[in-house]
């Protein structure tokens, strides 16, 4: 038989071992460092942390950064708020580029008052330059403000309000303690 499959026992074992090893390596491939973010890049998350902290700053209670507002926004951007993905991507990039051009450093590296001033200009729609499409500044500011409030005061299940921080601040019992209408104990 000329076209007989020639595979001796030694070669069979060698191939099997290589195959099994290959499968193990496959799982290693899947083990590449995974980002903790769903939509945001690491750089964007640092910037967004600084932005949301400006909206709800830390005082005697944790602010938006520690309450996980960035996580809330990131989570919603791959869910119900997917329609805002482009605005965030373009807007965050515009903030980064503007800061680089004007201050030679990132927004998150500016001091508190400089950051506040920057955001006031955004809110007023006064950002100028090639990075800003018409209305993007006000639109992005509005989104960040609204989403910060939602993430900070909303339910922790949506990714923000870490450790129920806003509920504790507002002295709200959470979960609400309420019994059934028990007829008789």
């Amino acid at each position: 038989m000329t076209n007989q499959i020639k595979l001796n026992r030694r070669r069979f074992i060698a191939l099997s071992v290589v195959g099994a090893g290959g499968m193990c390596l496959l799982s290693r491939c899947a083990n590449s460092p995974l980002s903790r973010w769903r939509f945001l890049t690491e750089q964007e998350s640092v910037l967004l942390d600084a932005l949301v902290e400006q909206i709800i700053p830390t005082d005697e209670w944790p602010g938006a950064r520690d309450a996980g507002v960035t996580n809330f926004i990131d989570k919603q951007l791959v869910g119900p708020y997917a329609r805002y993905q482009e605005t965030y991507r373009k807007g965050l990039s515009a903030i980064r580029e503007t800061c680089k051009a004007n201050y030679q450093k990132g927004f998150e590296e500016l001091n508190w008052d400089e950051q506040t001033l920057f955001l006031k200009k955004m809110e007023a729609g006064k950002m100028a330059g090639p990075f800003w499409e018409k209305g993007l500044d006000r639109q992005l500011f509005g989104l960040i403000r609204n989403h910060s409030m939602q993430g900070f005061y909303g339910s922790p299940r949506h990714g923000g309000n870490k450790n129920n921080v806003s509920y504790k601040m507002l002295k709200l019992d959470y979960p609400v303690i309420i019994g059934q209408n028990r007829y008789k104990i």
Binding site: M23, C24, S27, A30, P175, I177, I178, N181
Partner: protein
């Protein structure tokens, strides 16, 4: 090629590929179930958070498979389940809020008892081991109080549907039956109702025998192991994050124990919305027992309280009274003096005589 040759070739090829498959699968399966979860389970974005929390928990020394089993531990059922996980992963189906189903949780629970045998036996002997049929087919309860969606807050909290999918009819006339008869014997308050297995904590370790204090009052705090599963939000809250009960007896604020574990109890054994003592299912100690924690009298898992009196009221008491024989609900279920609320004045209507020293 002759027919015989084809048959011979097929007879060779099929076992050959079968063996190759078994070797590959065996290698992969062996690797997956022995390597660190960092290199296996948490390769999936969805599982990463769970692996991370497990690594900070008192169960950190256990491998995932110890509780969750392997792809083969539950036969075709688990194979199908793992297969679907793979399919969803490849399809990039959003599984951001991945969490075990009720069925999976109950499977995990069977593994709890392997290590926590005593606690499991206690739980089985207590009221919290109640099953679906005893909760939802209780004629006395159902005819007195309308079954409603909030029942599932404390019973069957891991059920994926609503109460409409559990029992019918939803009225006070009955007769009631479970929509899925298979649920009848399923636990309605499983371990995970009060325990998050991945909760922050430290594993128990051997003490420093040279330092006696470290064995007793300076023992390392391993953290609380209790908490509450909030069905509404589908999140788990450790007792340290639960609110303390504010309770009122008329205008008077009742002193409530600050025992964190008790915060778990009052989530279900709760007063009405006005937080008036004794309303709804509130059993917070008042009267002579005001300020005590539920745990002062009730065992943790069995909730047994039969041996509790003697912990605080020993036979050799200063008052020479055997409290277990007093006219309370402890001695007689029909007594008007509920052991949770009984006050001195309930028996001593004319006040209490001052004892001579």
């Amino acid at each position: 090629m002759t027919k015989n040759k084809i048959i011979k070739r097929v007879l060779f090829i099929i076992p050959f590929f079968l063996i190759i498959f078994l070797i590959l699968f065996g290698g992969f399966y062996g690797y997956w179930n022995s390597a660190s979860p960092d290199k296996t389970c948490s390769s999936c974005h969805e599982i990463g958070k769970s692996v991370d929390s497990q690594s900070k928990s008192s169960h950190r020394n256990l491998h995932c498979k110890e509780c969750h089993g392997t792809a083969l531990s539950n036969g075709i059922h688990s194979l199908k389940e793992k297969g679907m996980m793979f399919v969803n992963h490849v399809k990039e189906k959003d599984s951001g809020n991945i969490r075990p189903s009720e069925e999976q949780l109950l499977e995990v629970m069977t593994n709890c008892q392997r290590c926590h045998t005593s606690e499991f036996a206690d739980w089985t002997s207590g009221g919290h081991s109640i099953d679906y049929q005893h909760v939802f087919l209780n004629t006395k309860h159902n005819s007195t109080e309308q079954i409603n969606f909030d029942c599932l807050r404390c019973h069957g909290m891991f059920f994926e549907g609503t109460v409409i999918d559990v029992v019918e009819p939803l009225n006070t006339k009955g007769p009631w039956k479970l929509k899925d008869g298979k649920r009848a014997a399923m636990p309605a308050i499983p371990c995970m109702a009060c325990h998050q297995i991945h909760q922050d904590g430290l594993p128990h370790s051997r003490p420093d025998y040279a330092g006696a204090k470290s064995i007793f009052y300076q023992k390392q705090d391993t953290g609380f192991v209790a908490g509450f599963y909030d069905r509404h939000e589908k999140i788990y809250l450790p007792v340290s994050q639960l609110p303390q009960l504010n309770l009122w007896e008329g205008e008077r604020k009742v002193r409530v124990s600050d025992d964190p574990v008790m915060r778990n109890c009052v989530q279900c054994h709760a007063p009405n919305a006005m937080h008036q003592a004794g309303t709804s299912d509130d059993r917070t100690p008042r009267g002579v027992h005001e300020g005590l924690s539920c745990m002062a009298c009730h065992e943790l898992h069995s909730n047994d309280a039969r041996k509790s009196c003697k912990s605080c009221h020993p036979a050799i008491s200063n008052c020479k009274l055997d409290v277990t024989k007093m006219n309370t609900s402890y001695a007689d279920a029909k007594s008007p003096n509920n052991i949770h609320f009984v006050a001195c004045a309930d028996c001593h209507k004319d006040g209490i005589r001052r004892t001579r020293n």
